[in-house]
Symmetry: C2
Subunit: 351 residues, 2 copies
């Protein structure tokens, strides 16, 4: 019998945002890897690609031409997962097992830059501030539509994350229901707020800043950290220090600070394996259901799949799908590695 | 305004096993795919591979030799995610955010056959019955260990599912806690049982057999179906018709019927895209915590990633990670496709 050492011994950690446990196996990163390697593109991208349906002036799948846009550009997804049509529906309450209901929604694509070859870490702060303004505008416009109660802003980056075009872009799926993960998070946030009259994340950020060992970046208004309950090897969250519940409530200083931390975090990510680091990221904030949501606290999740190198990812498969998420290095170790990486993008050093 | 058509209109469906919704976009399979293609191995495998650490007689990572096994063979995972060591631990109840506890467990690897080149659909029924006996023995042996309260039997098949060796094998992770997904399922099963004095899945199977349109295979003792709330394109469940709560309670007839449905389902899977079909699968059944669990009802989940072809999978990424799982064809359509596929393995036709 030995005393519990969180840095060495297998253990479970609790995620208070979605009320789930994760299995942590600190020793397991040592196992040899003989499995699948991802292919990475080392190809230099052109500034403009005549075959790219996102580049300025080019033709999209629906036959329409993109404008000669100069900063960001938003359009409706040509293959949207939801539609705006209003549907007549009578709920059949007898159905215990076959419960379904129509869902209305709007999907948009947000091009981050006219440049085909620029990703977030390589953009200027001013350009990222412009993306933030676009997100604010979309959140407001979509949120104001009567049937839209939630606006999900997200980005899939890299082919390993199902992204089919390297042109820098994100997506917005706005819809009438609260998606499952958001609803779970809201339930936890609300319980905490009702009990403490403070947001869960306000207290969490304070506790993390005091502990220190999971912090990756801190500036005046935001913290980037590896959450105590992270499931992906280099998962992070960007959390506002102030309990601001949506992106449209940022002060001008907060917008700039958010742009800076976005650039720094994604630069560190690219520097980790000297590659354009794949991830899915997304913003969790107040729903747009017309209610006041003091429990919500702006945060952005980054879920990157890579584990050991630019080509070896973590597989969330059998045990993880049937049992629970499992990770192979501790969040503290990941945070330490990210913290120590340079803020200067590796590509700018090579040139 | 039009009337809701579940075969055409975007909608959400409810999964009563884990209390979560899924977004269904029936029309979306039509979008063109320009993203990542998986590489598939078309290489003919040898019956015995001298470099395979799972083949009979060969040396494993820890230096030990596999026996000259003739049916199935079980050994402790050399790189286990959990350890058996008892750990002294005092819970720090002040920690709202940093909740962790040590976890004890045992991981085993189950080789399904001495043959390097045989997968489940290509095995004889008698061989599959032998695997079922091995699962029964492991469930009993591991379950009898004092600190083991749950035994998770699963298989990762194919490199796209993180499997690093094509030699047919599965895994067992046995541990002291109920993993997250199992606990969620148990909560739902228990609520239903307490209310109805029948298992949720007993009634669900009856409702599905009556509806008919999601059934893939039915035999005397088991049903294979695409659940109403499936998230993966060709996700299925094998459910026992009788409310049997663990694999060790199978009658001899049930074991044979289970072997048959396993062979038929995996044959249909391989025939879908004429490829060795990747998936993660696993059995959900009664925990081994010493309590009676009348609410549990034996079932096996299959989570296959492929969507359009042997090389194009469904990506559960941005929206799915931040929002909720989303699928591009209806479960009814998937079931129809699987149902119509032959029970004769495509390889046996070619030869
Ligand atoms: O233990 P294996 O087969 O090496 O590893 C595989 O299955 C495990 C259990 O689902 C996962 O944690 C790993 O990510 C995966 O690569
Ligand atoms: O809409 P896209 O970029 O074509 O598609 C990508 O993102 C979607 C939202 O996360 C996923 O549903 C798709 O599986 C993925 O390939």
């Amino acid at each position: 019998m030995k005393n519990f050492d969180i840095n060495e011994d297998p253990h479970r950690r609790f995620n208070p945002l979605i009320n789930e446990w994760v299995l942590v196996s600190p020793h397991r990163a040592k196992r040899p890897w003989q499995g699948q390697n991802e292919t990475i593109s080392t190809e230099e991208l052109p500034k403009y690609d005549p075959t790219c349906y996102l580049c300025p002036g080019n033709v999209r799948a629906n036959g329409m031409n993109n404008p000669q846009y100069e900063s960001s550009f938003v359009f409706e997804n040509d293959f949207a997962a939801m539609k705006q049509d209003e549907i007549i529906f009578e709920e059949d309450i007898k159905h215990t097992f076959f419960k379904a209901k129509p869902e209305q929604g709007i999907s948009r694509v947000v091009c981050f830059s006219p440049r085909h070859d620029l990703t977030l870490p390589e953009m200027e702060i001013a350009d990222i501030e412009n993306i933030i303004r676009t997100w604010q505008k979309e959140y407001t416009d979509l949120g104001n539509i009567k049937f839209i109660n939630h606006v999900q802003i997200f980005e899939n980056k890299g082919s390993v994350m199902g992204c089919s075009n390297p042109h820098p872009h994100g997506q917005i799926w706005a819809q009438s229901s609260l998606p499952t993960q958001v609803e779970k998070t809201q339930n936890s946030l609300k319980l905490y707020y009702d009990k403490n009259q403070k947001t869960l994340l306000e207290d969490y950020v304070k506790a993390e800043l005091k502990a220190g060992d999971r912090i990756v970046i801190e500036n005046d208004h935001f913290v980037a950290l590896v959450p105590f309950w992270a499931i992906w090897p280099y998962e992070t969250m960007i959390i506002s220090k102030r309990a601001v519940n949506k992106i449209t409530n940022f002060t001008a200083d907060e917008s700039t600070a958010f742009a800076k931390i976005l650039k720094e975090l994604t630069t560190k990510y690219d520097n980790l394996f000297n590659t354009s680091f794949p991830y899915s990221s997304g913003i969790h904030q107040s729903p747009t259901d017309g209610l006041i949501h003091p429990e919500w606290h702006f945060h952005m999740h980054f879920y990157p799949p890579l584990l050991r190198s630019a080509t070896v990812k973590k597989f969330m498969v059998g045990y993880e799908m049937l049992g629970e998420s499992q990770r192979d290095i501790t969040p503290e170790k990941s945070a330490e590695i990210l913290r120590q990486l340079s803020d200067v993008h590796y590509k700018s050093l090579v040139k």
